[in-house]
Amino acid sequence: MSVSQSGRASGPLDTFPRLLLNHAATRGDRPATREKYLGIWQTWNWSQVAEEVRAMACGLAELGFKRGDNLALIGDNRPRLYWAMCAAQMLGGVPVPLYQDAVATEMAFVLTDGEIRFAIVEDQEQVDKMLEIKDQCPSLQHILYDDPRGMRHYTQTYLQGLDEVIAMGKVHDRNQPDFIVGEIANGRPEDVAVMLYTSGTTGKPKGVCQTHETFIAAAQSGVGFDHLTDQEDILSYLPMAWVGDHLFSYAQALVAGFTINCPESGDTVMTDLREIGPTYYFAPPRVFENLLTTVMIRMEDAGALKRNMFHYFMAVAKRCGSDILDGKSTVSSTDRLLYALGNLMIYGPLRNVLGMSRIRVAYTAGAAIGPDLFRFYRSIGVNLKQLYGATETCAAVCLQPDREIKFDSVGKPAPGVEVKIADNGEVLVRGKLLLKEYYKRPKDTAEAIDAEGWFHTGDAGFFDEDGHLKIIDRAKDVGKLSNGAIFAPNYIENKLKFFPHIKEAVCFGHDRDMVCAFINIDMGAVGNWAERRGLPYSGYTDLAGKKEVLDLVRECVEQVNAELSHDAMVAETQIHRFLVLHKELDPDDDELTRTRKVRRGFISEKYNVLIDALYSGKTSQFIETQVKFEDGRTGKVAADLAILEVKTYPTMKKAA
């Protein structure tokens, strides 16, 4: 009917709505979206999705949504929220996904800053947040909700169910079938396609405007690079507001025409991953780390035979697994045989448990990944690779090519992207995938993109001899000790965080004579460790204060120091003193960003007493901190924190 014909007639596939119509016409029966609902995977094929999106767009238009309007999307990864993105784009509007776990006041900022008139939210919980802040957001006029549960008694006229809007849209579309076709035809590739807010590591979040052209280019470059087809399956479980999810679950899915799968709920991701068995997978290092921790904990609970087999074959995999995956010819035939045996007995089943049996390509990004962690996945045959990018560059600047994997680099520039290193070590990027602008912030835009069109990433890095980019830290975080030695806090913190027992770390040292650190233990790993030793504890604060735990952390820190001492560049920045914080750093208390990056400035202000104590040679310090619970109430946590000294090592000369 008209859907397919008008889709083809509208010319080149240079906007997302046109891509959608094209898929509906060329692979209408292929699954486009799946969601597990009431225990069963529901599937929508491309024609059905196109129908739904079209109806939603007409419904939105009926409510007065028009070209240039911004549409806020708040919720977990639900099919209809993804479709709403495309619906807004059909009308020439701009979807603005928000982090769904943000508290109401944080949302108020984005809603006001983005001049949002329409918001589509997932459920009653999010509606309540919207109602709470509606008075602060004068522009907000319509709130639509996806899940009607619990909404029966809400009588506000500006609240509407998405079901009704879609039904309304269907009628509208029947009466004026030309309307939406015309709207799609009016879309131009240089229109803004999506606005993604930066996580706000540096101050207030900024709206990054990306056009259809840039995002499609970025997606095409990735699709071509990894030879993705319409047969891929991807699990969409990362926040929709994150550029990574937008690239993988929206842009690439629409460019390549593959299937996105929405989990049943945030807590079922592990099970859903196993059931779907994605072929293409994306996760921040944290997720890979959690998976590995779960496996390791379960392995320790297993019987002696299984445990020994596991450790034996993991040693084999460590020795030759990644080389086999890279297709290197240096592996001995004994090792190959052992690896094949291990694959049958350990790696295969393990991949299956992790839901990674079918994975062709897996990516990680967003933070540095521990070499051991990275090696673990590659050695059991998961083609895990790293990429580097930012919200401003549609996530993809550098990618690791197959067979050219290095544990400590982020790979080579993607096709069509230029990367160079500025004199101060900052990474500069130029190419099609750069942002159009920061929303309503011409000054920031001008600062970020210089006259020659280079985007300043704010990351410090360098190219190695093979042309691979290595990122060491945020450029502005790289400081100097008072004796002049380079101090890259992130670098040290990452080394600390690679220990399963350490969840977060914050290092201090800029303009100081030595490096000191705050540590957060990992409740799961250390809790398990304590249980094994019959060590009773009542909660985080109690566990973090135990002498045994402090000794455990001290051992980790000492190992880091030993590693640091091997490299003359950073040997000066060994950790001299540390303490274990009495509470977990939390985005709700503004200590971490929503993507869980440490907010250094805020933390050093908030815990000023502790830093003073670290540097003044005290052995303990009392502190009381206010904490915010998930429901918005506040409470207090107080503790007497012990400050520990750590052994440091003399600098080792590396053999040339």
């Binding site: 009431l38 069963i40 549960r149 619990g150 029966r152 008694h153 049943e264 079922t268 619970f629 429901d631």
Partner: protein, 261 residues
């Protein structure tokens, strides 16, 4: 603000007395429960609250008194009859099958509604299979409702206490009861779990129109969610009315603040 309509008296308890040998657990207690309301039973330890609930669903038979359920006299209520009559309950000390998965536990709540005979069920053929699929669909709705999808296949014994309580509620809901008896649904929970539980109870009451009779120690919870409260002390009724009335009742205050009896 609230859309549900509290209806006629659905359950009427008249002059209930229950004793175990010489111990008088309940003495001459009368109160009623209206359709669609949330009715709380409160009282200090040993006041006879759980006994009262056990009388309602036929675990104990009172020596005296009458239970009138939807106009019918049930002086000799037994557990099976209570279940048939649309009464479901949860327990103070969770009584789930620890070794079975959450899903299987909730499925047991559908037992009364299964029509296939034991042989058919054993070979899981024809009607039994069709029937089970229907029941499973219903159970999945409850799982979705109580947001326990992530533990569907987990053995109940491995779950934390708060979640077990939720599974207990799920199993009771699987019976699609008209009256839901909850014995201390929030005991031993932290603040967040209590809030979740409150929300679920209110949702059940609101969405399905289920009448709820609950025993609870947390006064904040009781006063917040119940429509009417009956107060027991030493097996006697000492107060009955809206939360505000009960709060102002001098007998209740003295029972709770420990004034001399």
């Amino acid at each position: 603000m609230n859309g549900r309509k509290i209806g006629e008296v659905i359950l009427d308890l008249k002059n209930i007395s229950l004793s175990f040998g010489g111990v008088k657990a309940l003495t001459d207690i009368s109160f009623d429960v209206r359709e669609h309301e949330i009715r709380a039973i409160i009282g200090p330890n040993g006041a006879g609250k759980s006994s009262m609930l056990n009388v309602i669903n036929g675990v104990y038979r009172p020596q005296q008194g009458d239970i009138i359920l939807r106009g019918e006299h049930h002086a000799n209520m037994d557990s099976y009859g209570a279940a048939k009559a649309g009464l479901a309950r949860t327990f103070q000390n969770i009584a789930l099958f620890k070794g079975m998965s959450v899903l299987d536990n909730i499925m047991t709540g559908r037992n009364l509604k299964m029509k296939a005979n034991m042989l058919q069920q054993a070979i899981w053929f024809g009607a039994a299979q069709r029937e089970e699929l229907e029941h499973r669909a219903k159970v999945e709705e409850i799982i979705d409702f109580l947001e326990i999808q992530h533990i569907r296949k987990t053995p109940v014994g491995r779950l934390p206490y708060g979640l077990q309580k939720r599974v207990d509620l799920a199993r009771a809901l699987a019976m699609e009861p008209q009256i839901l008896l909850l014995d201390e649904p929030m005991a031993g929970m932290n603040v967040e779990e209590k809030q979740d539980m409150c929300r679920f109870i209110l949702d059940v009451n609101d969405q399905f129109g289920t009448t709820v009779v609950l025993i609870e120690h947390d006064m904040g919870v009781v006063m917040d969610i119940s429509d009417r409260v009956v107060v027991l002390d030493y097996g006697k009724k000492i107060g009955d009315g809206t939360p505000d009335e009960v709060r102002a009742n001098p007998d209740v205050i003295s029972a709770y603040l420990g004034a001399s009896h």
